[in-house]
Structures are given as structure tokens and as C-alpha cells.
Symmetry: D2
Subunit: 334 residues, 4 copies
């Protein structure tokens, strides 16, 4: 049984707590949150203990692994502490919003050999993964284009916006990572980014974007298009398309059932697509955690690495530069 | 140029007049209708001449072919006259509602060798025809089941109902014929029919059915299910499914465009399917006429024969017997 | 915690064992099977104890509920014993193949008030349930037709066929029950059944059917069509359609992902539909067990009753009579 | 009857000749082509006369309108001559590849009031037009994004490539125009263009692109993404999506029938989408010609103007500049 300390008991932390205890080989040992009510509640609901500091959890002999779901600025600190304590580490994305902190963390944990996985859950989505396989197994021949439409159902509040680090680093980072996942060994080398505030007042106050489009290129010449919106009234719109010399594979949106309705006012209408990222990706969250546990048990390196987290951030930063300078930016990963 | 006399200038006659003149090798020569206003109007709109009797048109040397779209009870008389005048004949379905008249007509025209085609237009629908081909070319292996859902958008008025000869002979006859078309050489040998009046007052007054289901069997054992309704509020529902040892092919409903809508209240909603049989089958009506002209020009026997019209009626009659006796009826085509 | 004794540790029993232990409020206490190897294996894999007789398990004070997944002929005996021991009972379908045994069981347990649920899992399928709701909430207006296409991917072996009680009682019974579920208070009063052996040698040896079609009618006049095959090469085909005065709702087949492929040889091709009933209905099996536990905890009567199991069998028996006599049979539930 | 002179009798000219004569109010009077064999053949097939020079046709009193389908460099000359002769003019796209010639033509025909329509046929596609209507009638609320995937089935030969004026001016120009059509009064003000040669040797020799992506912005802030390829092995891929504050409408690809196949190797497979632009847009070509005739008959200004042709070319030119300079270009329409 892998005993796990959960750091951060907010919305996403709660979800992780349940996933941990539903796993036959994992157990939630400790919960820590800066807000002691949150940690108490999540701890009680999931048969575990509250600890009063992250350090206590990280350094406890009872703990085999950390699940870091705390506020983003705490991630690198907890990763470093966990790595030094030789714990296996699962850390939510992004590693940090500041590339300097990420680089510092990278050098701090250099040489420490413990499983470390970053929470790019979408890689574990069954349908997106099949799109990636269609490239790997050459079902579509040589990859030429990736097209990602990724739109949230509704904009977040001002508090979230002020803390999140901007649209490209908080939201598009998933799509940058998914593109990297599909590309495999072929790195993204160029980005052109376009963001705007078209409709949301809070987004305007936060000096952020609610709508964005991107074109990226890989070293081998693959074209990638991403489009994002903070408001798709019909639900959480998540589509990925790969196109190549021998065909195209699309990961379409999903409805909760296979029901289709025909009335005087609707033809072939389906159930609404899911509105909330946790519902849409619940199985992906479970499967990413399965992978983490499997890596611990079999002493394997997780497939989503610290470097993946760092590289996605570097692309996001280059995207901001592109937007500002109105030109295409060559990406430097060093 | 094939010169054609149109007998009957009602709703369906008008459609035929336009199809005739749009064909590069055909020309509407004469129009006859018991209602002289109708014949005058259709004639004027389509650059042709009115004649005052069917005989005049049928026996005119200017006429190569007849298109019979008059009231059903006149069909056998006009077929007989046309055959004796050596004209090519296209006759709308059904040949007649009375099998005795059909048999009499059959013996009257015996041995006369002129192209004679019955208007089972659905055989010429592109999608239904592909379903039939999937049987012929063994794409689905050995045929085991045919399933036809065929539902009108709205019930007709009482006058139509009183003249039409009943649901099975007027409406289901298309589905009996389509089943025969798919089966090819394998004859339908049994029918079990179930009709009821579930919702329409006029249908009740006419002592007819508004809803019906059928199970038929072919000599080789193929199962056929047909379901009919006089009211599908979402449009004219026309689906055909064939199932066999190697798979299934479905001819689905068609929408006028390839547009799909997503809003707060609809997901993947398509344009309404067409509501009117002439719109839905307009291309099939054209293609059936193309076939007729091609048979005249190349002196070939049309693929939809008098016998096809007769056999579909025999099945309809057996269906009424099945409904009445509440048992399965063996079909006798002699 | 509800402690459960599993009677029968075959293919379906194993699945139930896992579902029991994955439920937060249930625990597998005992496993019994006539084959002691099976009971040992399932017991070990699921942290429970083997018992050497069904009686021991049924009468143990440690046991709150029975899950009966043993051979069909043992069902009524175990139900009776369980009911007398005041245990909650979940019994796989069918109750028995012999209506006399079912009736005897019914009178034996009369007046004993313990939760008793029959395993018609398809009622708990999310999509089929929405079809039923479309009738209940009048989304489709007044129900006029139900159309069920239910086809297995491949025929079972001869041993299974010889024990299963015939196609109508083993397979179609699910579709009879699903029709009853959709109809609600409106009973099925007539059945016309058509079975044949079109392709399978084992089925022929077992004097059973591999293909069948049915038309049933409810008291209010609703038409029901069912078609069954033992071989759909494209997978386990499970579709349900309801049609009424205000529209149609269809529960379509489901693919494991939302991926669509376009190549030189395929257009809009989806992933194969699932091939195995346990995979297709895994969530329905879980949800039916959730319902059972909920009924125990809240002392409610399960929604799928002994009477439901009995009535479905009565319809199946009438269907055999219809097939034999080639006529429509009025159903007598007394 | 509108008498029409066809200038240019190549592949597209032939198609226009047939469309002209199939129109009830139009007649092909003259055919001119630099290749006298072509003009002779098209003339014979369509019951018209050959003329030995464009001038003769343009200035003939027998001619009411010109259909210009000749080589692109001749377009502006013929437009000018036709306008001065007061003929109605339909001219294939592009007006010219050289903006100076377009501007010169514009000033030459200034003040001449004769119907002049440019051949952006896609505006007349039923499904694309519904997408545009979804913006106009606010079905999708305020427009925020347009996404166009437009891919040819196979690359053209070297001769075509050398004459065509480059991917952006020959192919993407349709998508620039379609975007302008959807945007209505809101002009495109910025373009970022990315082209590459990923797979085709002829394209490389012609120093052209086989793959391209674009992001454009309108004055009101609407984001437009276009992606193009010269090779989609699954057919001529033509999709248009509009996204706004109240929803999304997509014009999907179209298959020639509504047939769906299920076999051991395919699930829900449809017929291949059409491979050839004339087949895909045949109805759009007819409807654009209907519009032209209607404008002549009713003395209306065609909806696709000379200015539309000029503006699309200006966007294409700016796209080349963007590609070259690797930056976003502000578009100047003066």
C-alpha cells in the first residue's frame, strides 16, 4: 500500500483525495492545507489525518508519496523538499509561473532519483491518447498538422484570474503540452500568439485574455493551431485533430450518454457535453494517478516529467513575447 | 426527342411535367386531366398542348410515351390502351387497388412488347440503392434481416384517405416493394401485419390505420420488419437497414445541409429532415425518369415491372388478411 | 457495511464479487459455488471466505444479503431460503425457466418483506434509462412505438445453448423486460414471435434460434418491435428507440472513445463498439448494485421486482406459443 | 432570354457552358478560347457558335452578358472591354494576380453601371451560407471566432502551379473571401501567414507551399483561423466553423449518400467525401449563376463585387508579406 500525503485541499485536492482512496494500492495518509478547515474536512471525508505543516507530512516515515495540489507558488518548494526526502512526487500543473523558480528547482533536485510526475491529465484521456497513437503508429502517415480547439464553458472570477498567471500559462499550457505529447521527439521551435479581451469584464480588469489563437511549428515542420475561449455556452469544448499524409483522426467532444432526440424543434440533438473539467476528464485523472502508482511500484520514470512541465511553460512565455512583439518567436529551451 | 403525354395533372402530375421538360431527351407533348383547369395550367407552365381526352393523347402519332399520373382507378385502362397503341408507359403506383383489375390488365397486355415501368421511386434513391447493392455485392455477406422505418410527417385529409385504398395498399406498398428490391430473386413468402388507429380522427372515420408494424419472411429465411406511422413530427422519416453475416448497412435520414448547431439548448443539432415526399425523393423521381427514357432509347425492359406492381399489391392484400385473422399468412402470387 | 454472500462464482459471479467490494457500503463475506475451485479462487481474489454449502452462507448471522449468480435451476430454491432467513436478495435473471417453479417460489415467499431485486441490468444503463425518461416526462408526447435492436456479437457454444432455456427465455427476456420498463404501468397484452435458425450449427443442434423478430402490443395500443441475432460481426449491437406524438428518442450504440478516422479507405469511422456484454453494461451492473444497496440501507422496495422477472418469463413463454402456432397470442399473467 | 458569351473553354469553362444552357432564362450564344479546338468542342456540345476573337463576342449585339473563364491574366482586359460595351459580366476568381492591374481595371470601369460578379462560388454553398446566416441572425450571438479547414484532395501538376500565382492567391483566396463573407461589414485588418513545403516535389520546384496556416483579425476583434493543405487523402475537406457568445455552428463535410456501414473492420463508416471541387460545389456554381441572371433581370448589383475580388487579393498579398517578414501585417485596402 502506497501511503500518500496530500498537500492542498482545495477543489482539485478534494478530487485527488477521493481518487487516492479509490485506488486499490494507495491510501490517503495525511492532508495539509493552509486553510485548516479545508484540511480537516477533506481528511475526515477520506479517513486520513490532518497535519499542521507541509514539512511534517513530507518528512514523515509513514509517507511514501506526495500529491501536491496546493497554490502554484508553493509547488517548487514542496517538490524540492519531497525530492530531498526521497518521496515519490505528483505535482499539479503548472510547476510555477516563474521560469527562474522552475530552473532553480530543477537544479536543486538534480541527481535525485525519485518518481516525479506533472499533472498534465489530458495526456491520459482515452480519446486524446488515441489521436497521439494515430501519429505514433503512422495510421495517419507523416504528421503535418495538429488542430486543437479548447474552450472553457465560462470565465472564472476575478480572484482566480489574478492568481492564475494569465491565460497562456494557466489554460493554453494544457494545449501546449498536448501538442508536445502528440509530437513526441519532435520539439516545438516557433510560436505566434494572439490574445484579446472580447467579452469578459473581469478578464479586462485582470488585464488578461478571454480569447486566443496560436500557430506553432515543430522542428520537422509540423503546423500546430490552437484556439481558446473562456466561454463556450454549449459546454467544455475539447477537440483535437491530427492530419497527415495518410489521413486524419479527430478526438471529438463527448456526451454523457448515447441518446439522440428528434422533435419538432430539434433533429439528431444529443445530450449537452459536460460543463466542468473534472467531469470531462475524471477518467483521465484516475488513469494519470494509476500511472503514478504503477511507476512507484515498478520503479519506473513517469511519462510526464518535470521537463515536460518546464517546456510547456517556456512555450507559454514565448507566446506572451510573440503577442507583445506581434511577431513569430523562436523558442529557446535552455 | 421522346414526346410524352401526361395523363393526370394533379400534384404528382405537375412534378412529372417539370421533370419531363428538364430532361435533355424528353419533351412534354400533351397534358390531359379530368379537370380541364389543371390540364390547362400544367400545359401552359410547361410549353405543351392540352388534349380533351386521354384517348386522343394515347393514340396520337406525335406521342412516344405515356406518363400515367391520373387517379388510381384509371391506371389499368390507360395502361391497356397505351400498350395496344405501342407506346412506352410509365405508370404511378399502385397499378390498381383491386387485384382482379390488375390481373385483367395483365392478361390484356400479354405479349405486347413495349417498355412499361411502375413508379416505385424509392428504388432510385441513391442511399436506398446503396443498401440494396450492399446485399448484391455481399458487402454484408448473407442477408439475414431488413428493417424499414417509414413514417409520414402528417396524416392526410379525409378525402385522400377515402380514396387511397388503405394504409397498407397506399403507403406500406412502397416498403413492400423496397423489401422486394433488396431481396432480389428471393421472394417474400409470409406476412404478419398489425395496424391500429392510435391518434388521428380522420383515419378513424375512414376506418383506416395511422400506425402499423409488419414482419415478413423470404423464401430463403430473411426476416423483414417494417414500421409505419402517419405522423412523425420531426419530418418524413425514411430509414432502411440491412443486416447480414458480415455486417450492416443503414440508409439514414437526410438533412438539407451539413450544418450542425451547438447552443445552450442544443448539442450537435442538425437541420430538420425534409417534410415532404417530393422534396425528399426529388432526385429519385428524376433518376427513375432517366431510367425510363434510357429504356425507351435503348429498347430495354425497365427494372421496375408490372409484375413488381402486382406483387407488392398481393403482399398488401395478404397483410390485410393477416391483420384480420391475427395470424401469419402464406403469400400466393398466382 | 452490508455483508454479502455470493452464491455462484462463475463468469458473472466473479464480476459481481468485484462490484461488491468496490462499493463503499458493501463487503463480500462468503463465496459459495458447486465447483469448490471457483469459490476458492473468487474468495481469495476478493478477501472473503469460502463456505461449503449455500445453506451455511444463507443462514449465517454474518450475512445481510445474498447475491444469487448460480445456475438458473437453483435460483428459486435460494430465493426461498434467503427470504425465509430474512436476507435481502439480489438474483440474476431469469428467476427460472419453468413458470411453475416461479409460481411456487412466489407463493412460498408471499408476505415475507425483504428487499428482493432481479438482475435486469439494462434498466440501469444511462442511455436506455434516458429513453424511458423521455416517455415518462412526455418529451416524446404519447408513446406509440418502441423499437429494440438487440444482437449478440457471436453465438455461444453448445453447452451453454443446451442449458440456457432457449433464445426467447435467455436473451429476448432482456428486451421484453426493457419494453416493460419503458411502458411503465401499461402492460404488454399480445405477442407475435418469429424465430429461425439461419446460420449457426450449434444452435441447430440445440434446436434453438439464432435470429428472431417480435411484435408486441400494450394494453393502450403501443406497438413494440424487437429484433435479435446471435451474430453481429461489428460488435454487441444494443439500440432502443421510442417514438411518440411529439418526437423520437434513440439510445444508440456506444464506442469506447470519441475518436473518428478518415483515411483513403474510411470516412468518419469510429472505434469498434464493445464486443462483450459485461464491458458494454459494466456501469449498469454497478448502478443496479448501487440501487440494491440503497434499498437495503433505506428499507425501500427495489425497482426491479420478482413480479418483473415472472412477467418477462410469461411473455417469453407466450412468444414460444406464438411461434409454434403462427399466430398472435394474448398474454395471460395470472 | 439572356444571351451569354463564354470567354475561355477549359475545364471550368465547360462546366459554365452546361450551367448556362440548363438555366431556363439563359442561353450560350458564343464561345471563345485561344485554343480553337476547345472553343469548337464546347460550342458544339452546347448548341452555340464559335467566335474567332474575344472582341467579336464582347461587342456583338446578340450578347447580353459575358462569362469570363479564360486565363487569369486576360481577366482585367475582358472586364474592361465588357464594361465599356455595357455587358453584364461574370468573372472567375481571381480578378488578377497583380494588384496594379486590378487597380487599373478598377479605375477604367469606374462609373460604368453594369452587373459585375466575381466567381467566389463557395458563398453560394447551402451549408456555408447557413453558417454566415448564423452570424447575421445572431443565432450564435456576437461572432468571436471563424475556423476554416480547406484542403484539396491532391496537389496539381507543375504547369498549373507555375501559372496559378501561388497557394495564397490561388487557393486560400477562397477562404479569405469566405471569411469576409461571414464577417459582413467588419473588415479584416491583420494577417499572420505561415506556409511551408512539407511533401510535394512539384510544389518545391515551383517554390510554392503545400501546407499553410493563417490567423487573421477583424476590426471588431474577431479571430479567424484558416488551415490549408494540397493533399487530404480522404477527399476534398471543406469545413467552416463560427463561434460566438451564444454558440457555434459548423458546416461539415458532405458525403454523396446518407449510408453508414458496420463491418468487422469499420464502425459507422460513411461514403467517401467528394474528391473534386466541381462535384462538391456543383450546386453552389449553379446558384451563383442563378444569382447573376437574377441580378441582370432585376437590374440589381450582384452580391459578390469587383471590390470583393480586389480585397481578397490584397489580403493574400499581405499574407505573403507576413510569411516573409515573420510578423503580423496590418492590411491596407487603399
Amino acid at each position: 500500500m502506497i501511503n500518500i500525503a496530500l498537500l492542498g485541499a482545495g477543489r482539485i485536492g478534494k478530487m485527488h483525495a477521493e481518487i487516492i482512496n479509490a485506488h486499490p494500492k494507495a491510501r490517503l495518509q495525511f492532508v495539509y492545507d493552509v486553510n485548516s478547515n479545508s484540511s480537516k474536512q477533506v481528511s475526515e471525508e477520506n479517513n486520513s489525518e490532518v497535519v499542521s505543516s507541509a514539512e511534517e507530512a513530507i518528512n514523515s516515515e509513514k509517507v511514501d508519496a506526495l500529491l501536491i495540489a496546493s497554490a502554484t507558488p508553493t509547488h517548487t518548494k514542496f517538490i524540492t523538499m519531497g525530492a530531498k526526502a526521497k518521496k515519490a512526487i505528483f505535482c499539479e500543473k503548472p510547476i510555477d509561473l516563474d521560469i527562474d523558480k522552475v530552473n532553480e528547482c530543477m537544479s536543486n533536485i538534480k541527481g535525485i532519483d525519485t518518481p516525479l510526475q506533472i499533472g498534465f491529465n489530458r495526456r491520459f484521456d482515452n480519446s486524446h491518447a488515441k489521436v497521439q497513437q494515430a501519429r505514433t503508429n503512422k495510421e495517419i502517415g507523416e504528421l503535418e498538422m495538429i488542430i486543437i480547439s479548447s474552450r472553457d464553458p465560462a470565465p472564472p472570477g476575478l480572484d482566480y484570474l489574478n492568481a492564475a498567471g494569465g491565460f497562456f500559462r494557466d489554460t493554453t499550457i494544457h494545449d501546449f503540452d498536448l501538442s508536445r505529447f502528440i509530437l513526441g521527439e519532435d520539439p516545438i521551435v516557433q510560436v505566434s500568439a494572439f490574445g484579446d479581451n472580447l467579452f469578459d469584464e473581469n478578464v479586462k480588469k485582470a488585464e488578461d485574455f478571454d480569447t486566443a489563437m496560436f500557430i506553432l511549428k515543430s522542428k520537422k515542420g509540423v503546423f500546430i493551431h490552437i484556439n481558446n475561449s473562456r466561454r463556450a455556452v454549449y459546454g467544455y469544448d475539447q477537440r483535437v485533430e491530427v492530419f497527415g499524409s495518410k489521413g486524419m483522426v479527430i478526438s471529438n467532444n463527448q456526451t454523457p450518454s448515447s441518446v439522440e432526440s428528434f422533435t419538432e424543434s430539434s433533429t439528431s440533438s444529443k445530450e449537452p457535453i459536460l460543463n466542468f473539467f473534472i467531469e470531462r476528464y475524471v477518467q483521465a485523472y484516475k488513469d494519470q494517478f494509476n500511472h503514478f502508482i504503477e511507476c512507484i511500484v515498478n520503479n519506473k520514470k513517469p511519462s510526464v516529467t518535470f521537463e515536460d512541465g518546464r517546456n510547456a511553460l517556456i512555450i507559454a512565455n514565448a507566446a506572451y513575447e510573440s503577442h507583445k512583439l506581434k511577431k513569430t518567436i523562436d523558442i529557446n529551451y535552455e
